[in-house]
Amino acid sequence: MNLFDILGPIMVGPSSSHTAGAARIGFVGYRLLGETPVKAKIELHGSFASTGKGHGTDKALVAGLLGMRPDDIRIPRSFEIAQERGMAFEITSVYLKDVHPNSVRLTLTGRSGKTCTMIASSLGGGRIKVCNLEGIEVSFSGEYPTLIVNNEDKPGCVTRVTSLLSQRAINIATMQLYRDTRGGEAVMVIECDQGVPEQFLQELKSLDGIKKVTYLNMEEE
């Protein structure tokens, strides 16, 4: 842990895992959807479901979905703000198999009709992990600029993406490959040391065998 994992984060209380982590999960959902949801289904698992209310987990998740960060003092009022902005949400509890006790499934729909389904866990200290995206198991924290590339499960896709990254001098911090079935839906999750410019994202999208590119950069405003 670095010094600022020990001191910090600056956050709205009362709990780094149940409040700050929850807000961050909501914020990741907001960023992955690419817009403020008009509809959000929030399903709480484990300790999120049992002690979430007293910790403001519900308010923090909604705040994050509205684009608020864990230190946003409006978090306690997020339900009213959601109403003002036309975001309908429903909060229920659910049992999810094989996940961390502090987990949530988000099913989001944007104004444009775009959807996003994810499962994420709050690991403590405000840090989080996305562990399922659109039904495919993944693992990323949002601490790095992250590329999520959906591609056809056939030879050459990974090489094309990584060689383009190397040409643009973007260093890969971690890289993971996932797929649902052989020859089916495949996903690359690439955590980068540098931010990825918009133009490069367009280039990536145009590569052979690449179906969709989602980019997550939590640092950006």
Binding site: M1, L3, F4, I6, L7, I10, G13, T51, H55
Partner: protein, 287 residues
Amino acid sequence: MAFGALEEIVQECEKTGLPLWKVIMQEDLRERDADEEESMERMETLYQAMRDADAGYDKDMRSASRLVGGDGYKLQQAVENKTTVCGSFIGKVMMRAMKMGECNACMRRIVAAPTAGSCGVIPAVFLTYEEEFGESKERMIQALYAAAGIGQVIASRASISGAEGGCQAEIGSASAMAAGAIAWLRTGDAGCAMHAAAIAMKGLLGLACDPVAGLVEVPCVKRNVIGAVNALTSADMACAGIRSVIPPDEVFDAMADIGKLLPSSLRETGEGGLAATPRGRQIARDL
């Protein structure tokens, strides 16, 4: 790699002749590939956020369970009326620790130090020390590096999570960090700082994490007070030349051991200790 032992930090200070805070900062800069300006700015932002949270205390706010709120103001009145047995300085430390713990429980903006539940200890000690002893803001920020460096070693050798190690890992760690920082401010001696941290930790070893209804309210808020006061008495002991018989690193190893031995009912599950008392259970039912 960040330091894995307090003794390593002391040796590095002796070897380089650099002050404690600088040794800790430089190791972190190396680790994160960051520069000094960025690091100082972040630390200053954290200290300012602590100051803002303290100043923004509202005596009328209440927590989710409505069990927490208004106690920091009661201590403020006691200090103002000069009725505290502990005098004005300790009185103010207690007041600030209580206020910050309440701010956290009431969903105000705080700084996790090292955790949200223990967020009152370091600001209470630092802000009151700065005010009372006329210390410069610059030196207080240097002392925050000392505190964070000690916390780093605690996190790597033991834990700073109540779910893992019980409250000793949260309030105990915060208290040790604050004690070390104050001892360093008073003496400039890294070794003395580590003994202050060890003495503070020893006083809180075994502390269970038994929050009523699983909320960061009872007893968390008031434990910030004991963590802050314990930090100051421990720093005074170390500065007077008293040393921990058990070497500081071994003290934190003992904390790790004790954390493992604690049953899960005493590690943030809200099932044992105060949470399991008849009143504690009733509060949980009534929520």
